[in-house]
């Protein structure tokens, strides 16, 4: 459950010029795997995620999730957005239970689950707070809880920590490692931060822009469970050097 398969996927945005956001992308993600898409802005990594989420439709190729092709968004693919994108008029609790409510999940089922998730992301004391009263990191915790409460088979994260300060980002990365270690959901994680990609993922896929494509797929064999201490290990530095060289090389082709 939660297997992702991109095969020969292209996305061309309309208009006379036709921007090639993605060209002939192949990517397989196995159940429970954590894959990071790493690349500069404009390389189509968010487009890739949006296609999988069902927010956009592909121009060419095949994209399937658990063997069926994607036609629209759905709770089996939980999305965590760049700036959390919580509904500002709903409290933390109301934001988290929005999904179960519109999906007609019985209260007796979703309530304990939502409570448990709020505890997991450390926000049980902020039940009735409005998003505007929370810090950026706390808002993104709600965003994660909101996606997980639907028990998705895959979690799609679009630069979820990109807008946070360095310290908050580290603690969010730790939280995500912890959550993933427990739930083992398939994760597709979009980022432009090399450290973040290596620290979190089992595989780092490097993308280049114009046209957007995956140029390298690097397995990260750091031991699990991981913590932010991994950031200073010799193996980590080695991966980082490899990826940096690869990204610089990819850049030099242009």
């Amino acid at each position: 459950m939660g297997t992702i398969r991109f095969s020969g996927v292209s996305k061309i945005y309309g208009g006379p010029t036709g921007v090639r956001a993605l060209e002939n992308v192949d990517l397989n993600v196995a159940e429970g795997e954590f894959v990071a898409l790493l690349g500069p802005s404009g390389c189509g990594k968010s487009t890739l995620l949006n296609l999988l989420a069902g927010f956009e439709t592909l121009t060419d190729g095949v994209l399937s999730f658990d063997g069926t092709s994607i036609s629209k968004p759905g709770p089996d693919r939980g999305v965590v957005f760049q700036e959390a994108s919580l509904m500002p008029w709903l409290t933390v609790w109301q934001n988290v239970v929005f999904g179960p409510q519109v999906s007609r999940v019985p209260r007796s089922v979703y309530e304990p689950r939502a409570q448990e998730l709020l505890r997991l992301v450390g926000l049980e004391k902020f039940h009735d707070a409005l998003p505007v009263q929370l810090s950026g990191g706390m808002r993104q915790r709600v965003g994660i809880a909101r996606a997980l409460v639907m028990q998705p088979k895959a979690l799609l994260m679009d630069e979820p920590f990109g807008a946070l300060d360095a310290q908050t980002r580290l603690s969010m990365q730790e939280l995500l490692l912890d959550v993933w270690q427990r739930l083992k959901t398939t994760v597709l994680f979009v980022t432009h931060d090399i450290d973040e990609a290596i620290l979190l993922a089992d595989r780092v896929c490097i993308m280049t822009a114009r046209p957007g494509r995956i140029t390298r797929d690097i397995a990260i064999d750091l031991p699990r469970p991981r913590s932010i201490e991994a950031l200073t290990s010799v193996e980590f530095i080695h991966y980082k050097a490899t990826i940096m060289a690869e990204m610089r090389g990819a850049h030099a082709h242009h």
């Binding site: 927010f55 008029w89 519109v102 505007v132």
Partner: protein, 278 residues
């Protein structure tokens, strides 16, 4: 104490704000009173404030004896009530039609392409131009006035709702879809709440136009209410009642706007905190 700091302190206190707001009207009334001689102004055309006040008191609290036929004794509250009820009905109707329609217009490009041009094409037709049609269809009856108020209030409500619904953050809609929301959920639980600040702007403008419309309608299309009294009093030369009537209209418009503001204040707590923090 210097004048600047006194002003600042006035501005900060609640009572002080009322005081500041009262300066202009009080001055206007005093000037008006001072300019009049023998209780009249402009060659006798306009009564002074004291005459208006006493006429108003009689209009509001006077007890008509069995032999008096004057319509300006003790009938103020009734007429105020008629007008207010018409505005309430017409306004409610405009909301019931305008808000859902605006939400759908802002949300669906297809519906907008089909309906919006017609709205924009009918909108320049002023309420007064609808009077003959209203009279022809509804006659001298209550609903004629309600109809005009609805038309007047409808446009600002539908246009502001459309604008608000159109400006909803795409990621909120995507988030809702990702969580399994159906189109009706997106409309009711995302588009409408997100558009509420704009909707309230539309409500305030619409209600103001509603008061304009009720006066126009009552001047022509019904035989009661503040608008009817205004025109009737003018015909019999009772300018004191005309002015008291005008002040009453202003007061009612002011009060109903204040009610909407109170409602907005309690409903849009999230919005208020947002602007406070940002």
């Amino acid at each position: 104490m210097e004048a600047g700091s006194l002003f600042r302190r006035l501005f900060r206190s609640r009572g002080g704000k009322w005081l500041l707001a009262a300066i202009l009207p009080v001055m206007a009334v005093l000037l008006w009173q001072a300019a009049g001689t023998d209780g009249a102004l402009a060659g006798g055309a306009l009564p002074t404030p004291d005459r208006v006040w006493s006429a108003w008191i009689t209009w509001a609290f006077g007890k008509a004896g069995p032999m008096t036929l004057s319509p300006y004794i003790g009938t103020w509250a009734d007429n105020l009530g008629y007008s207010a009820m018409r505005v309430a009905k017409g306004f409610a109707l405009a909301i019931v039609v305008g808000v859902p329609l605006g939400a759908v217009l802002g949300w669906s490009k297809w519906v907008a392409a089909m309906v919006d041009p017609s709205i924009q094409w009918l909108r320049p037709v002023p309420i007064t131009a609808w009077l003959p049609i209203s009279l022809a269809i509804f006659g001298i009856r209550d609903f004629g006035a309600v109809f005009l108020i609805t038309i007047g209030a409808f446009y600002p409500i539908v246009i502001n709702t459309t604008q608000g619904a159109r400006d909803v953050e795409k990621s909120w809609i995507r988030a809702a879809l990702m969580m399994g929301a159906r189109p009706i959920d997106v409309l009711m639980r995302v588009v409408l709440p997100a558009a509420l600040p704009s909707i309230f702007t539309g409500l305030r403008i619409g209600l103001g136009i509603g008061w304009t419309a009720v006066i126009v309608a009552e001047m022509v299309a019904v035989k009661s209410g503040l608008g009817y009294v205004l025109w009737d009093a003018y015909y019999v030369g009772r300018m004191d009642i005309v002015i008291a009537d005008m002040v009453s209209i202003g007061l009612m418009g002011f009060l109903s706007d204040w009610l909407i503001l109170r409602l907005e204040y309690s409903v849009l707590r999230w919005r208020r905190m947002q602007s406070f923090n940002g």
